[in-house]
Symmetry: C2
Subunit: 282 residues, 2 copies
């Protein structure tokens, strides 16, 4: 029988750990971990995410600095805002909400964030450190996937994971994180031939495509663990990559959407903030 | 029947292209592409590699600056030498021969090389750019593997490659290069379970372990293309990862060692030098 992974239980445990770490800073008379989040324009998804970050962070004892810039802000002004945050000792993490307006080059923005404050690992320096050292900063979504897998499976070493999707924000950093756990890793994407067959070869299947309900039982190996990172809108509802009913005929464990990976990402982001804070203090 | 890939023929064609590019700079009265190679100590492998680089580069019309520092040079002195080369407009590429003496931190050295002159892609900035953009600089060995595959197979899109080995200098950058070619990519390593079975699933198998003759027909899918990146010493001879006779029972095409991938790497390094030169001029 297939079971749904209780991701909010994992998030609850993580939150408790983070809360204790922040409390211990406070009781030692230290500063409060502070995240600066920059929103350009009024993208509703970004506004929602920003408000949720603030709520979660404050519930854990941290502080969030909300910076909102108008849609027509120049690239130069945004870069200079980031420069100020880089130089501000009271700010430990910087998050720029993407997508940005078309007249702003997202690559330049990512390059401008100080690698030591780059909480979602978008600066190529962090991407490179993640790939080539034990350091670097990983984005919160792939980190959340690894957390769920570790909590669910314990030892990951030697297991075969198949990732569908090779985006910079999920698939590619996930390769590096799973290799760190000594998993065998296969990366598939839109050009993969025999996708069903390759997907079935994974003891762990992670889908990060954003194609609602595409993944059916035909993509799932017997007893596989399936992590659904897709979020799309279908008929006005947030929908994952998995056709849950079908997938559950073959999988041993699955995450659902909503109520799955997304339940953990903001918590993991805050854990990264506390990690960056500790590094800045040491 | 299995065939051995004629890598030196591929190198010859590449060399001709590079020679023409350098000639055209000269006939336009421009400077000569110049590589600075830094050797610390007297590691015989590094001395050999340095001399070969010089020979190849000069045969193509380029210039090589050989810098040799004694084994006991301080880290600070080496970093300052690199800083000088970063600032020298007449130098277009910088290569530091690894391994370095134990008292020098290789990571610090890699971080010091200007990303725009980092000819073998060791600076994490280039590793990150390679993973997340269409830019970045790849090390010459994985780039040579891709060149051989393109020359041999033509279209790589959608084909399944299995890489054995996850080093920073071969396996990991190869993941990114093969994803750029839209291949499906599997990465295996010492902790992979059922390695034979996973290896057999590849239409292309790339072995980069340095375990002499470990790869036998049991690791090779019917008609697979096998690229051997291993080089070890066995009984005083340079030996690849493949037991060639055995592998040839199953593979359609194979590279041998010596006389395989290594025949192309210095040429590809020089192609990168010319690319960096052109960027510096533009």
């Amino acid at each position: 029988m297939s079971e749904i992974i209780n991701v909010s239980a994992i998030a609850k445990v993580e939150k408790e750990k983070i809360r204790k770490r922040i409390e211990s800073f406070r009781s030692n008379g230290k500063a409060t971990p502070t995240l600066a989040t920059v929103l350009v324009g009024e993208d509703p998804g970004s506004v929602y995410y920003m408000d949720m970050q603030k709520k979660v962070l404050e519930s854990l004892g941290g502080t969030m600095l909300k910076l909102t810039l108008t849609e027509d802000v120049s690239e130069q002004e945004l870069l200079s805002t980031i420069g100020d945050l880089n130089n501000d000792d009271k700010v430990h993490g910087i998050m720029i909400l993407f997508p940005l307006p078309k007249h702003i080059d997202e690559h330049k923005v990512a390059m401008k964030i100080s690698p030591s404050k780059d909480i979602d690992g978008v600066n190529p320096m962090n991407i490179g450190l993640l790939a080539s050292t034990s350091g670097g900063i990983a984005p919160c979504t792939p980190s959340s996937v690894v957390e769920i897998l570790k909590d669910t499976l314990g030892e990951l070493k030697g297991k075969h994971a198949v990732i569908i999707g090779r985006s910079n924000i999920v698939g590619k950093p996930l390769i590096q994180l799973l290799l760190r756990e000594h998993m065998t890793v296969t990366v598939c994407h839109s050009r993969t031939r025999d996708l069903k067959e390759v997907a079935r070869s994974g003891e762990v299947l992670i889908s990060a495509m954003g194609r609602p309900k595409m993944i059916t039982e035909e993509y799932v190996g017997d007893g596989a663990v399936v992590i659904d990172v897709g979020t799309s809108e279908l008929d006005g509802k947030i929908t994952g990559d998995c056709d849950l009913e079908s997938v559950m005929k073959k999988a041993s464990l699955v995450t659902k959407v909503p109520g799955g990976v997304g339940t953990l990402t903001t918590t993991i982001l805050m854990r990264t903030l506390v990690d960056l804070y500790e590094k800045s203090e040491s």
